[in-house]
């Protein structure tokens, strides 16, 4: 009851001086808002990273890329055949921990490739030759039709499996794409399958949308039609069966490939572990910096609240004297002042939560293309509680000061 009265008085104080109240609560608001934004950003990064990690094949995936051989091997570069389908067989025989191997040849490694059909165009696609293992490694699902088989590759068939964005670009909604022909760089391919749409919505965006812009061809067909005489692959990806043995498997692949490449180190093997480490480092630095900002804001906010409470008590010494004369005990006065501090910090906390939500929308708008920060309910609760706790701590000293005023002196105070 007294606490309720105190909170009502606190609310009156706030509305009686709106500007002063806003300034008082500013530190708390900043602290809560930055706390919520920080957690939102970390969660956004984490969710975006997890989604892309999953869509790219997870931690079990081992990728290989072409690399410039070291200086001392520069003159030997020509003797290596590079990564070819022969590497696939070699690794398959020599590294038992590898469950899937996906040799891939992209028609344009860096730029998007256009696909056409009857005057319609689908730009910026990844067009590449693959084998069936690509499904498991790059995590594609077939929605309609079938996927490319070993037989398609062996016979060099001109068939394609396409993503939903390509379907949208090249076909009208009433058409069945299966059995139709599309063109890539003037060469015709018959559509035999359509991938399932990949959707991972975050902050109103599909962060894995690029996976729907894909055209898969049989590997042999792609090499034959677009790579001239060279059998060199763009990517050669592996999937480890046991993630705990990842390091050993990576070493075994490395050894096999070095032998196949006649000792020339013209490739690198990459796992997502390195990205994970980099990611966690970024996460930690973000937590430290934003967490520091909110801690400092809350600290300063607490001091401002304490200062205002002390000033407000000084203004009301006589009132406290009167309340004591009318029977208020020390704990009544203590509770009253605490209730006021609590009210200020609660209002500051609510405004801070709203500001934090606003900050997250602003950041989403300011940073397109980045994994957008997300508003986490538990972060809102945490921010609000942090503000309340700050208010309680800031209120204790002023509340004690007020509670222990001598009623006689307080009544005579002018």
């Amino acid at each position: 009851m007294l606490l309720l009265n105190g909170m009502r008085d606190g609310w009156r104080e706030i509305v009686a001086h709106p500007i002063r109240s806003l300034l008082t609560m500013f530190g708390l608001i900043c602290g809560v808002a930055s706390l919520i934004a920080m957690i939102g950003m970390v969660h956004g990064m984490l969710a975006g990273w997890r989604a892309s990690l999953y869509e790219m094949g997870g931690l079990e995936k081992i990728g290989s890329e072409w690399a410039r051989p070291p200086e001392y091997q520069k003159h030997l570069a020509g003797i290596s055949p590079g990564r070819t389908v022969r590497d696939v067989r070699a690794v398959f025989r020599n590294v038992p921990g590898v469950t899937h191997i996906s040799p891939e040849f992209a028609i344009d490694e860096y730029g998007g490739t256009e696909a056409r059909r009857k005057g319609r165009s689908s730009p910026d696609n990844l067009v590449y030759g693959v084998v069936p293992d690509v499904l498991a490694i790059n995590r594609y699902d077939i929605e309609h039709g079938r996927f490319i088989t070993a037989l398609d590759s062996d016979r060099g068939r001109c068939v394609a499996v396409i993503g939903t964005q390509v379907v949208q670009d090249l076909f009208s909604p009433t058409e069945n794409p299966l059995g139709q022909t599309i063109e890539v760089k003037g060469k015709p391919f018959k559509v035999i399958g359509i991938f399932k749409e990949c959707v991972f919505m975050q902050g109103g965006r599909n962060v894995v949308a690029s996976k729907n812009r894909v055209v898969c061809l049989p590997l042999a067909t792609a090499l034959l039609r677009f790579n001239g005489s060279s059998p060199r692959l763009t990517w050669l990806n592996f999937r480890a069966g046991d993630i705990d043995r990842l390091d050993a498997i990576v070493d075994a692949i490395q050894n096999t490939l070095v032998i196949m490449h006649r000792g020339v180190l013209d490739f690198t093997l990459e796992t997502e572990e390195e990205r994970a480490i980099a990611f966690h480092r970024a996460e930690r630095s973000l937590k430290t910096s934003m967490g520091g900002v909110s801690a400092i804001s809350l600290f300063v906010g607490g001091i401002v609240v304490m200062n205002i409470m002390l000033a407000s008590i000084k203004e009301r010494i006589r009132e406290i004297g009167v309340r004591k004369a009318l029977g208020a005990r020390r704990r009544d006065i203590f509770l009253q002042v605490m209730a006021e501090a609590l009210t200020i910090s609660a209002v500051g906390g609510v405004v801070g939560v709203v500001a934090g939500a606003g900050l997250i929308s602003l950041l989403t708008w300011l940073l397109p293309g980045q994994p957008p920060p997300v508003l986490i309910p538990s972060a809102m609760v945490l921010g609000f509680s942090a503000s309340l706790i700050t208010g309680i701590i800031a209120g204790i000293y002023p509340a004690f000061t007020a509670a222990f005023l001598d009623p006689i002196e307080a009544l005579q105070y002018d």
């Binding site: 007294l2 009318l326 029977g327 704990r331 009544d332």
Partner: protein, 229 residues
């Protein structure tokens, strides 16, 4: 022969000593007196005579250095500060010279303050507040703020606040000091009426005319009660 009236307040050789620098100041230097239930007593004396100290003791805001203070047959000389506060809330009504209404609360909310601190009988608080407002003739001012009231009205509102917890004693400290003649008369009339209803009142003043309203005067000088001539 009538039986002597029951005393509400008894002071037995009460002393109050303050330390001012190196000197002891005897604000009360051995006061013995008794105030009966239903009495209307005026405490008079020049400033520095000890009447304020006496009032603080009677108001449970201070404790005597020595001697005994009996209130309603209870020795209240050395109550804890929390017990003092509870006694103030339940047994006393204060009326101050400068009214001391809280400016941000309505007249009714001001009147409800002692009830909220007394923590009993609050269910009928609103009705009780209406009753005492009616008693002092301010029913039409219930929702006003103190600064919307005249001086006389403010003091009557303060008296209503003092009455709301049905106190055993009303302590009035120069209640007419800030009022004009007309309002002084009205407030004193109110005290006389309350006295006639059996209310015990102790009124501290240095105004002889005001003191004359009371049925008995206690004259203080140099921390002692001056015996009646």
């Amino acid at each position: 022969m009538t039986t002597p009236p029951t005393p509400l307040i008894e002071l037995v050789d009460v002393r109050k000593t303050y330390r001012m620098g190196d000197e002891d100041v005897h604000a009360l230097a051995g006061v013995t007196l008794s105030i009966a239930k239903g009495e209307f007593v005026a405490v008079v004396g020049p400033s520095g005579s000890g009447k304020s100290t006496l009032m603080h003791l009677l108001g449970f805001m201070d404790r005597p250095t020595s001697g005994r203070l009996i209130f309603d047959q209870e020795d209240v000389s050395q109550l804890s500060s929390s017990a003092q506060a509870t006694h103030r809330a339940r047994k006393l009504g204060f009326v101050f010279q400068s009214f001391n209404l809280l400016p941000r609360l309505s007249v009714t909310d001001n009147i409800l303050l002692p009830l909220s601190y007394a923590r009993d009988g609050r269910k009928n608080g609103a009705r009780r507040a209406a009753e005492v407002l009616d008693r002092v003739g301010l029913s039409h001012r219930a929702r006003h703020r103190p600064n919307q009231l005249s001086g006389g009205e403010r003091q009557r509102a303060a008296i209503a606040r003092a009455l709301v917890n049905s106190p055993q004693l009303i302590l009035a400290d120069e209640p007419t000091g800030n009022l004009d003649d007309q309002n002084v008369e009205r407030v004193l009339e109110l005290f006389r009426e309350l006295h006639a209803e059996g209310q015990t009142i102790v009124l501290v003043t240095h105004d002889v005319n005001v003191a004359a309203t009371a049925s008995r005067q206690i004259r203080m000088q140099n921390g002692r009660v001056v015996p009646p001539a």
